[in-house]
């Protein structure tokens, strides 16, 4: 047994004894806010980055305290960019604002250890898997920002991402966000597991296609057939998008629960759009009971920071066009004419129109939170062959808070594709049990199994343990 494998086994043992864990890329735990308000992560997160009822209300208020109390709740003195009196001077003066008194930056690191059922020798210490430098805050009364620079290891190569957004907060329940937008009905970045929600991982567009070209050495003979590949910008719901969204929230009856809504337009793929068509999306949800979407309402007698007895149901739609160019080349040989050798290249562009319609639910009952999503996706022509694909995908997850520092997670999901060409099974089944241990409010250990229950996925389970901390 190699040192590497012994080390990995030891880590597994120690971590198992310590109840350990897993992780969460794509962030949202925000130490700059903890510093600004001198408050714990648990004020906004049941277990970061998952938001609790107050974190959602805080976000819905444009990253501000509810009921216009942000200024009085801010403990860190802001730096004025202009006295209030300049409002009377406008348009002959800059509109006043303020910024954070200290640099509103936080750092998050995620360390992973991964083991593969089908490749025991390939367990690895991915220390770190990801480092994020993120910033969040407000600029005066009407603007806020949220973004990060994310460096992530992907097959031993570093990937850089820089999702950032500036938000105009017209009033607590009406915002215009420009930059990275998120059409996710259930925010993918707020999940407790390293594995993504399976509906967000669906990619109907293949990474490669078969291309055909005339053989220059034998123009009347059979066409050359070779593989053409495309980049990684194949559309999936999981990826952040560059766009603009208008969104808002308001409290429901008696200040409890309420309405949230979003409408947006985005590139769909990449920072430089791959086609001239913009994707559009919309979402509406209503929460019955619980804390108000903008804060307030009559709480239950015994609230904990992770509890919010309530039921939310939402509907969302997405319509887009994906464009991918497949390129490849081959050597054009003709056995009868050995001298006639040349390279033949070809490319083709695939335009695929697609629609998604889905529903979400989010139910809190004391220490249990169950949430689920069902999505129907229809692709007109993702392979350029004229063949359409219908995809049904859904998941349901239960998070049970055993102690404030110990959470059990169980998620089951299915992705079913009506897709005659593909050799993969029509239905993929996912089971993700996980344990989340909060060693401190900002240090999290996670142990997670990512299991495939369908025949084709058998033997491909993945086990991940992770340490995630932010400051």
């Amino acid at each position: 047994m190699s040192m590497h494998r012994r080390g990995f086994g030891l880590l597994c043992l120690l971590s198992g004894l310590a109840l350990a864990f897993l992780i969460v890329p794509s962030a949202s735990a925000v130490p700059p806010f903890a510093r600004k308000y001198q408050t714990s992560c648990a004020t906004c997160h049941s277990a970061y980055p998952k938001l609790n009822y107050f974190g959602r209300a805080f976000k819905n208020n444009g990253y501000r305290y509810p009921a216009g109390t942000d200024a009085e709740m801010t403990k860190e003195k802001p730096v004025s960019l202009g006295a209030e009196g300049y409002k009377r001077m406008w348009p002959k003066a800059l509109w006043p604002a303020d910024i954070a008194g200290s640099i509103p930056v936080g750092i998050r690191a995620i360390l992973r250890a991964t083991a593969f059922e089908n490749d025991a020798s390939n367990g690895s210490f991915e220390f770190p898997h990801e480092v994020e430098v993120f910033a969040a805050g407000t600029i005066g009364e009407s603007f806020s920002y949220f973004g990060e620079i994310e460096i992530e290891n992907e097959d031993n190569e570093l990937e850089l991402a820089m999702p950032f957004a500036l938000q105009y907060d017209h009033r607590p329940g009406l915002h215009i966000r420009i930059g990275e937008v998120s059409p996710h009905p259930i925010h993918d970045g707020h999940r407790l597991t390293s594995s993504h929600y399976n509906p967000y991982d669906v990619r109907t567009t293949p990474s490669s296609l078969t291309l055909r070209a005339t053989n220059p050495n034998n123009p009347t003979g059979p066409q050359l057939s070779f593989t053409g590949s495309t980049g990684e910008d194949r559309w999936r719901l999981r990826d952040g998008q560059a766009g603009i969204e208008v969104w808002g929230a308001r409290n429901g009856i008696g200040g409890n629960g309420g309405l949230t809504w979003t409408a947006g337009i985005a590139n769909g793929q990449g920072l430089i759009d791959s086609n001239g068509d913009k994707d559009v999306f919309a979402r509406v949800a209503y929460k019955f009971g619980g804390y108000g979407e903008l804060g307030g309402g009559e709480p239950p007698a015994q609230t904990e920071f992770w509890r919010d007895d309530s039921f939310k149901v939402g509907l969302f739609v997405y319509r887009g066009t994906s464009t991918n160019t497949y390129s490849g080349s081959t050597v054009a040989l003709d056995p009868s004419r050995p001298a006639g050798v040349g390279t033949v290249s070809a490319s083709t562009e695939v335009n695929n129109d697609f629609d998604l319609v889905g529903v979400e639910i989010d139910w809190f009952f004391r220490d249990l939170n169950v949430y689920a999503m069902y999505v129907i996706q229809g692709d007109d022509d993702p392979r350029g062959t004229g063949e359409s694909i219908d995809t049904d995908s859904w998941f349901v997850e239960g998070d049970y808070t055993i102690y404030p520092w110990l959470i059990g997670v169980l998620r089951y999901g299915q992705t079913k594709q009506d897709f005659s060409v593909r050799t993969d099974p029509g239905t993929q089944q996912f089971l993700v049990p996980a344990v989340v241990l909060m060693a401190r409010a900002n240090i999290k250990f996670t142990a997670e199994a990512q299991m495939r229950l369908d025949d084709a996925g058998e033997g491909n389970d993945v086990y991940v343990m992770a340490i995630d901390f932010a400051f």
Partner: protein, 189 residues
Amino acid sequence: MIIAAIITIVALPLAAGDIHGKVACKGVRNSADAVVYVDRIAGKTFPPPAAHARVDQKGMLFIPHVLPVVTGTTVDFLNSDAVLHNVFSPDACAEKFNLGTWPQGKSKSYTFKKECMAVLLCNVHPEMEAFVAVVPTPYFAMTEPDGSYSIKDVPDGSYTVKVWHPKLKASQKSVTVKGATEANFEIKK
């Protein structure tokens, strides 16, 4: 002249003095937040005040941070913030009370029936903390940041005077009060 002297003597408090001095709190930022109090006096009981004491939750803080009260005092907990607050105590001497959660402008009450140094916590905001020092006599005082304190109207006599601080070890000493009496303490971790 004699009559005037008699009147003066009668008008004086019945042999009441005060206990004053300084508490040097070592290992903390300053010497505030120490509670100096006279311990139980044999054969004497003290009815709790009719007026309620109050702890406010404002700006995500308990105000005051330390509240000394005599046994049996009812404390009102007011939420002045626009966010939900809760108040509970994990201490058995305060019956591990949990008053639940309530919104801005409302308050809930709890009567501290036993002597107790009860920690107050908010389960919505884990960083919030305060203390109610439930002491057996109405002779108590809080220290100023410089450690000074003054307990007024203490009848002359011999007492055990105790000092308690949220972060430091408690201390005590015997003090004989006769008029204005000085008693200094030093407490540390």
